[in-house]
Point group: C2
Chain length 324, copies 2
Amino acid sequence: MSTIDLIEAAADHLSGHVRRTPLLTSPFLDQIAGRRVLVKPECLQHTGSFKFRGAWSAISALDDAARKRGVIAYSSGNHAQGVAHAATLHGTRSVIVMPSDAPRLKIENTRALGAEVVLYDRASESREDIGEALAAERGLTLIRPYDEPQVIAGQGTVGLELAQQARDLGVETADVLVCCGGGGLTAGVALALDRHASGLRARPCEPEGFDDVKRSLAAGCIQANAATAGNICDAILTPQPGEITFPILNRLCGPGLAVSEAEALQAMAQAFLRLKIVLEPGGAVSLAAALFRKDEIAGDAVIVVASGGNVDPQVFAKALEFLT
Amino acid sequence: MSTIDLIEAAADHLSGHVRRTPLLTSPFLDQIAGRRVLVKPECLQHTGSFKFRGAWSAISALDDAARKRGVIAYSSGNHAQGVAHAATLHGTRSVIVMPSDAPRLKIENTRALGAEVVLYDRASESREDIGEALAAERGLTLIRPYDEPQVIAGQGTVGLELAQQARDLGVETADVLVCCGGGGLTAGVALALDRHASGLRARPCEPEGFDDVKRSLAAGCIQANAATAGNICDAILTPQPGEITFPILNRLCGPGLAVSEAEALQAMAQAFLRLKIVLEPGGAVSLAAALFRKDEIAGDAVIVVASGGNVDPQVFAKALEFLT
């Protein structure tokens, strides 16, 4: 099956298990952005981010024996929670390999959602090596965070919903800004839009200094980041675009957009004030691009996928300081 | 038309203009509450609270000449924003009479949404007197915040949505906890549930010390509050239940519930952490009751109407301190 067919199949598997997130608007955001802003708040998804979609899709696609043995994932946090919760709901076990410097809240939540958490040092160890070794040893299936067709398919259901919701609102042409780490969400959304809403174009959004996808799209080949830590947008700091995701992004996406940490925090503050939703920094870079990169965007409307809300209260308090 | 018929008619007028808010859940909240918790986040409604529903309903029910002359309302803030925005969207003008000690954010938003704001002193002046005088002088129609059938009808659409959503989730019997000031939302919800989901029972929730509705229900006749200021739940501090709303509440609601200011703040913190939504104190008393009054609630599931999210960042930061 091609990936777009996998997305349609994933939508069937996810139906009744995933939350269909609404599209939120505010005249105040429209004013800042200089155009109509439609925000899809995936922070309201189960486990607080879109990652639950891909996790559910991947686990539900396993054969019975593999699903019974369990799954393993490595993740800075949101994929971890998505896999842990989806595994528990499927009645199977999950092992999650997490960096020891991941936000405390994400580690605690992952454990509480039923996973066994194995911590590793982001600077000196490879999560891929650890994950693959544990998978072999215990007979677990590795659920990769983005370079995995079933995961991309699950994330692509965001794009299916968006295509329908934009049509219902009469929005035929718009850039769709997507928070982008390894590119699983962006690739899935791009494929779904390409099939179902050809006037909507996905554009990856990243933190400045960690804009590997933006640079890769500009170069036409995969470019790496110099580092994968040291930015407040922890959820989307990845080494480089995926081997599976990049060709999709390269074929279907518009140019990437990059924003500063301060702009991500200001976008969180505006989401608090105007939409009454909680975003984490990595889940707010798309809204930040809509609000603060308006000259790089065309059209009367812009669609924003706000991808997650798992943020420590201290970081959120920092965002609120922009309002006082 | 009876009020329940008005609700059905309001649902038609609101269709396409009001946001159908989802039902949110979290296994973490279920654990605290000791039962399944289903939260309807009306903070995600246009203008950040359910009040937009009643405002739209009332303005759309006016005859053309009256609608053209404009409307007036008195409000501590959420009704103000709802009326201002609904009036602007209907292409007419609004005058809003607000207490001078209302949260700054609510005053500013009301102006930005297109209203003329007239401030009054909550301690020495009567908002009713001011509102009625201005209405007479300028030919404006007064939109009362709760003791007004078309407003109750609009708020009742929350109940219509809930009846359907609970049925879809297989919840047939549950208490429905509703943040309650003058009783417009609670009365509308109670009427809608009585018609469409007879196993669901509305229960008003209030701040301790300002629990006029709870005491009125216990006494079987209207009881007043000793004060209408001096509590963090500013959105729901009203002198006493309405003349129109109380008989509805008395006939249809279960006993009232009252929570402390600290409990309202803790509920805001849990809504931030587990649902990724922003609630104001007065919009969180229902969730606080679900989490911290579990012995006063029966059944395997409880439904919470979280009524608004227009909170100053300083107050929200105070709620976040419960998490650190």
